[in-house]
Symmetry: C3
Subunit: 478 residues, 3 copies
């Protein structure tokens, strides 16, 4: 296998400007379903067993080379002298022991790895000089037509401009993906004649191989739509839709219900468990894992997060967080990066959480902000509560013990520790630690005795704690 791998290389042509994209971004760097076009091509090549292809760059070469990074070797085509010239440039980076080179376009990101495997396999049978991919199009206008020979191989590729009526009527077109016999290719490239425009075309090689008495085999693409090159943003949108739909179909085949696949956007690589249900207008991005029986959406946006079994997330945004099982999040909640939500928690409307751990069964039903905090189990967070975690220089942490009850509109000035079972009064500004089981009230908050009478404290002359005219714990909400 490794012997075979050393003997096979690939060249990805990515030098073109893509003028019709009308972009300052090089064409192959435009994203599709969360990754650039060239990344999709490199992914499929890797999946077909070609680990480190050669990317031929040109327009926007610096940016493309930076984006490709260590995934591929690169070779710069300094002048736009056509595809044959680009391949010549790419071959300079292909080692001499390689027997077969796969050549494809960096702007054809939908091609599946199976297609690459198919032409490599075909190259091994009988040693043709060229294996090329064809597609059958309902309307082939503008494409190079494939003229077949008596053996169903290719006799030539005829560009639209040079095609007679009969050839123009053919609807089998050249896709631009090939496997070549490298030895023959190196020699033949020296013989390609420039076109009147000065460019040298790879497609001329087909007729040359035939003239040399070498076979040119054809592999037909299963689905012509997978072979399209992206030349403008309309094609980009079509490719986006096709790729998204491909991903959704795969999840549905694996036992995920996707209520409306056309309005659900799932990045490649997202994992979803059986019998999870994805409601409309939902985005699952990056390294996201959805457990079985989860209910995501409508209108959920989950990025780089893990969502537990039976958990529901709707009309909310979850970023780089972990959510355990049986949690309810939404509507209109926002988990910022670093949130870690325990089982059976309830995160309601207008709740914001950041770099905070919530213990099992903790409830944050309403508008409020928890940041840089460690919160125990079965805690209740009142509406309007805020962790004041920033002193202008440093972020400080807030620690809240199990079963604590944070009253409405409690300001928690960090660093702060609120003990197990402690209570804060409505509107309190808590600036000092609260002992377990104690209640604090007022601005700033001071301890009061629980279960005491409803009379106000007689503490004249001191900063006034709030009186407690209501039973302990009365100032929560849900």
């Amino acid at each position: 296998m490794s012997a075979h791998l050393t003997a096979t290389a690939a060249i990805v042509l990515a030098a073109g400007q893509g003028t019709r994209m009308r972009s300052r971004v090089p064409k192959v760097l435009h994203p599709l379903a969360g990754r650039s076009m060239i990344d999709h091509v490199l992914d499929a090549l890797a999946d077909a067993g070609i680990a480190r292809p050669v990317v031929v760059t040109g327009h926007g070469g610096d940016a493309v080379e930076a984006a490709v990074g260590a995934r591929a070797a690169t070779a710069r085509q300094e002048a736009q002298l056509g595809t044959a010239d680009a391949v010549r440039v790419g071959l300079g980076a292909v080692s001499s022991d390689v027997r077969t080179v796969l050549i494809t376009m960096g702007d054809a990101p939908l091609q599946p790895s199976a297609l690459f495997r198919a032409i490599l396999r075909e190259r091994e049978i009988g040693g043709p000089a060229i294996v090329l991919v064809s597609a059958h199009l309902p309307d082939a206008t503008g494409y190079g037509r494939i003229v077949r020979d008596a053996d169903r191989g290719a006799a030539s590729i005829v560009e639209e401009a040079h095609a007679d009526e009969l050839t123009r009527a053919l609807n089998e077109v050249n896709v631009g993906t090939y496997a070549f016999d490298v030895a023959w290719l190196r020699e033949a490239l020296a013989r390609v004649a420039p076109s009147p425009s000065g460019e040298e075309y790879l497609t001329d090689l087909v007729a040359m191989a035939v003239a040399d008495g070498r076979a040119v085999r054809i592999v037909e693409a299963d689905d012509a739509g997978d072979t399209i090159g992206i030349n403008d943003r309309l094609a980009l949108a079509m490719a986006e839709e096709r790729m998204r739909r491909r991903i959704a179909d795969e999840h549905m085949r694996n036992g995920v219900t996707i209520v409306d696949p056309t309005t659900t956007r799932i990045d490649a690589g997202v994992e979803i468990g059986q019998d999870a249900r994805i409601e409309p207008w939902t985005i699952l991005e990056g390294a996201t894992v959805i457990a079985q029986d989860a209910l995501i959406g409508p209108n959920a946006h989950v990025r780089d997060s893990r969502i537990g079994p039976r958990t529901r997330v709707w009309a909310s945004v979850v970023e780089a967080s972990t959510v355990a099982e049986d949690v309810e999040i939404g509507p209109f909640a926002h988990l910022r990066p670093g949130s870690d939500i325990g089982p059976r928690c309830r995160i309601g409307n207008f709740a914001e959480i950041k770099k905070t751990r919530l213990g099992a069964g903790t409830q944050q039903h309403h508008f409020s902000y928890l940041g840089d905090a460690e919160i125990g189990a079965d805690v209740n967070i009142g509406a309007g509560s805020v962790t004041a975690n920033f002193d202008g220089t440093t972020k400080h942490r807030t620690l809240i013990g199990d079963r604590a009850s944070i009253g409405v509109d409690t300001m928690m000035v960090a660093p702060l520790r609120i003990g197990e079972g402690a209570t804060t009064g409505a509107g309190s500004v808590v600036t000092r630690d609260v002992a377990p089981g104690k209640k604090v009230v007022g601005v700033p908050a001071r301890p009061i005795e629980l279960r005491r009478s409803s009379k106000p404290p007689a503490g004249a002359g001191s900063p006034a704690p709030v009186e407690a005219p209501v039973p302990s714990g009365a100032d929560r909400n849900s």
Copy 2:
């Protein structure tokens, strides 16, 4: 009519595992547009006049029987011995006075009641042994083909595997929905021979009826897409789209504008008045009624609620609530169950309401929470205000009189009564009732005289009421 009804029964075949669904949920219980597949089939049968059919269960039988409940009789097929066997099981629960039995599949939820009515009618004309439903498919691969006789009835149904080239070229297929002469059916089922796999197929009955000299009539489905059986989640998604579109089309025909039917999700049973306008990405669920001239969406999610004339709901969630006429809700508002909103109210961004009545013209423009409250007319709720309705044990109510003005960041600790025309100051924590026309300020809130000087009170030595350095009523917002 009732005589006719007693003479007609129906059997719904719902025993199959649905392996390709890859689900732990029985196939016919998967939901579609808010109801399970089997519910849709039972709905259409009921609409066709068949009140209590027999559902033949098998895989997941307990769950299916529990879900069907009182809507149908059930009979359990213990072993998967084919459709003919399933019908035999079902017939055991069909009373002896029934002359015609309709048989259909529990996984074909799009079939309209008109189709059921059509085959029952056809059964009454000339008394054929079988009436079966056919559909014309562009690609019939995999389906049993219907071979017609000279009279345009069916001569036989030929499974794909046994079909010759000519038969395979037929594109009229058997759907799996029939009306049978019960007497003939009972007798004929005894004669069905098992296939090599041991299963007995209902489709064999067609040739048997013909051999018996009995007619087999065909009713062609108006729309083949309505007859599809759901075998995997891709088909489920297609069926969902088709059913949603059918519902949307019906509303549009009735005079509702649906701006984008493909991204609007309306449950069966939702009522919408004339000239209402439904903007994109909107969900109308359950027992929802939208009045005429209402403007719902974009991005509205309304469940089990009544929305009044000319009211607008956008980018908001409304659950189990009632909203009167000329109200504006949104964006980013959340009405939780039990909200009752009077005419001309305005519920703005980040407002949350739960089990609360709002009188006419009351305004809640900003982030705030009203729960378990009774609020009068023309009240203004300041930003950040909260009803602290929960003392850890019991939910208490808050009552606010007409024309009261709740200042920003007012905490209302329930039980609490704020009188007509009363005012609360910014940041006040109100723990005692406020008399009509009075203003309270501070933590906890104490009454102050309105229109008094801006000098602070001289109340040294007592819990400090807030001074009132601003004119009365100054601490609201909008």
Copy 3:
């Protein structure tokens, strides 16, 4: 050119009731992509050089005439006597020096101006009596078929009801858009005979022109779908989709990435810069301008606003506001009208802004409300902060200087001025101006010395300022 313009007029037929719309709104006033049908027709006519056409009104005439306003002359057809009669009514408002009159339907809003230009050009060549627009339909059922003569002109238009088998098989239909020789038209209209129903049809003129020995030329619509008349809300939804898609395609051709054109709604007239990226479920309405490299969506709703370069708006609503470059807005933020956001600002979740200017680099990360305020650069707004801008009668302004730090849960009772670099404590109610560099705390807020010890103030007997047990500035958050 102006001579040519005086010689050309247009009549738009807008008298029909549109019964199948099931609406109390006249058919041509139903909106499509943000504008009424008749507005779209008038736009296309204006674009074709016809500035002030004549709109013939009938059903709902008052409303239509009010909506048309100064854009067109109007003429009322009192009784529904057919299209020929409507044109006769319209001609009464066409001045006598006009040589060519374009006639089209007010319910065909997708017709591009190029189509109007094409028939006007055709009218100038050889002076035909009529130029009419045809469309080729896959299914022409219900439409008047065009019978061509030997010269490829029209010989007659045959209504479905009068068509023989052969004519019915024709799929080229009459669209209802014409350019007429006015002199001939005026004379010929006098000769039109009423149909049995009493209506007079414009289509009869074709055969009359031929009988008069005058040419009737045909212009084929490039895209039949652009010529459809809207007769019910299903057609309205289809037209909406087609028009939205046309707008999206145009932006994509200009170098804008629209990730999902089918769920992106861009009004005609919105401007978007190169390499801007529009994510799904986004609405761009009215006079909106999006700068290059902006990232809008998913789930953004922007109306009548300017968004700067590289600024991101997601899951938020922006109304009638201006946002500078490099700003981040969202998720769940709401800019109400009159917001003006400086460069590099950050507006986070549950933030609301109204009639407020934010200086460069100012941050409002959390739930809070800023209204009628002028806020400097590099200000930090704590969670829960509110401008109490309304005293029940008047809106007052809040001014906050550069680098001020507004602590969490600060109530700012306007009119109010908070100086440069000033700080407010957590939970403070600020009722008096704060001097530059000072800190205020408490309810109501009083100045304290910064960088003092953590001991509480000894101020017995006076309204209690909050103590400052934490370092200055400690009660912010982010």
